[in-house]
Point group: C2
């Protein structure tokens, strides 16, 4: 390997990112001490060039997305993040410049979320870049939030606004050309750098009956929560919170509502609980909106403003 | 994706491998409870098709190697394994048959080492298969074994026999043709399925001053231990324990000693301590051999049977 080589990259770029229990990355393992009365939560995601990122993103944006999709999983479990391990398999075309920028991006995210690097592995690959992050957090014993647990008649809530991630993905592919460029860039930003709802997740401990982050699509993720208890859901289209950008996109092309309810990548939280749950969530840094109910009939139905069921494309329910 | 699809593979093949805290793989994270007075040790390795495995291995062998190289890292830290996460990025040519055999291989290793699957991520890739395992174990607080800590004058020990991994790699490449086929197959087996020295690692707690597993090569890994304290080492060629297969290979080609001391992939433990340390390690399931001393002169020297320093190829010291 030309340039710094594996040891040089570890010493110069990764060791400064490491923290407690990482032993300056001089050993082949790291240590998490844990907190009495707490459990360690583990989540992991892999992203592959050409599949999960498209090549036009900056190394800093890729670093941000890699950590944030994992942090969003921790948020959905009501977990406070601690640290992470990183595995990268990089083709030789990813030189020291790319790696240096990528590590600068990791540092920004570490500071934003109070986490540090515990360890990892770096290898070469003859194929596309393949990046895995494994995130660790802690949660008081017995208070972890789960997908399973929703009950008949409970209210369905979402955080933030829905559809921006999927619209942002369309925009990165040049498919929202009739929208103002400023709005396009905001949607692309939402797709590339999601906002993990850590504070909300912690506030939901002991309050929400079931929680997921919206990665597969709003209706698909609601479907997962309901199916785990043999239940269904009814969602009111008019209640789904939309950003100014999404409203503008929808005004230009009325068919985009399919993308908003079916696309993924929002990384907002969807959760169920008592009707007054939103009143208890005023200081979590994000708006909470009630959008529907858990029902006995085992399917997810989207109710339009006119009260009729809207015919949703199948891709809103599939995941492969 | 044709065949089972992601959800089908999780339900049919991976969920049966999961254990406590994995929530049947129905959530995006798993939980490790920890043991009072213990720390959680984390290690991770990635293997890429065409780089770390060659394509001729069976899925079961790939599963074995992936878990065992990580278990070897835990062994070197004196850690008892608990569970693991698995990330696979597979090209479409790896169908259900490959995945089914790979999971059968994971099951065999899980039973051999008393571990279970905690979670993971599965993605597709347009490139070569890329597999990451992250292993978790526990160790009593403050008793973790480290690479750093060796002292001047201490004895250097190794477990098992040295060089079989590197000779096995040569054999898989068809480069040991003059050796008996039975011996060739045994060496290939040592390369493909290393033996993590878990019991030895646990027995070394509080006894060894520094420990590593031999993955880069005997002299390189001894060099790492010594360098961390600004020291060097003297290793006696005649004391290095060799298998019957390695002795036969060496008898056919005297130059192979360079491969034995310079090649990697043995996954035996190398460690330093008091001269009588081996006497305390009689019930660890593997032979322990003293092979040299830690010295003040900061380099690793190999002393031949005639007492002269042997000229070692540079690749014995490099790692990229």
């Amino acid at each position: 390997m030309l340039g710094k080589g594996e040891f040089g990259r570890i010493r110069d770029l990764l060791t400064p990112l490491s923290g407690k229990g990482a032993f300056d990355l001089k050993d082949d393992a790291g240590v998490i001490s844990g907190i009495p009365g707490h459990e360690i939560v583990v989540t992991t995601d892999t992203i592959v060039a050409g599949v999960h990122f498209l090549g036009s993103e900056s190394p800093e944006e890729i670093a941000a997305k890699l950590l944030r999709v994992n942090l969003s999983d921790l948020a959905a479990m009501g977990t406070k993040p601690i640290c992470y391990t990183l595995n990268w398999s990089l083709p030789s075309s990813y030189g020291d410049e790319w790696v240096t920028s990528f590590c600068a991006g990791l540092k920004v995210q570490q500071e934003a979320f109070g986490i540090y690097l515990l360890g990892g592995d770096s290898t070469s690959t003859p194929g596309p870049a393949c990046l895995t992050a494994t995130l660790f957090g802690h949660v008081p014993r017995g208070q972890i939030l789960r997908r399973v647990g929703t009950k008949l008649g409970e209210t369905i809530f979402v955080s933030g606004t829905i559809g921006d991630g999927a619209l942002g993905l369309l925009a990165t592919k040049g498919m929202l050309t009739d929208l103002d460029e400023v709005l396009v860039q905001k949607l692309i930003g939402r797709y590339r750098i999601p906002e993990p709802r850590i504070r909300l997740g912690i506030a939901l401990r002991g309050r929400a009956s079931a929680v997921a982050d919206i990665s597969d699509g709003l209706l698909a993720d609601i479907g997962h929560l309901a199916e785990l208890k043999g239940l269904g859901a009814e969602v009111n289209m008019a209640e789904i919170p939309l950003s100014c950008e999404a409203r503008n996109a929808l005004a230009k092309n009325g068919e985009l509502w399919q993308v908003i309810v079916g696309g993924g990548d929002d990384y907002e939280l969807v959760f169920t609980g008592e009707q007054n749950l939103a009143d208890l969530l005023l200081n979590v840094g994000v708006n909470i909106t009630a959008i529907g109910k858990i029902t006995a009939e085992p399917s997810v139905r989207l109710v339009g403003p006119d009260g009729n069921i809207m015919p949703v494309n199948k891709e809103g329910y599939c995941h492969s």
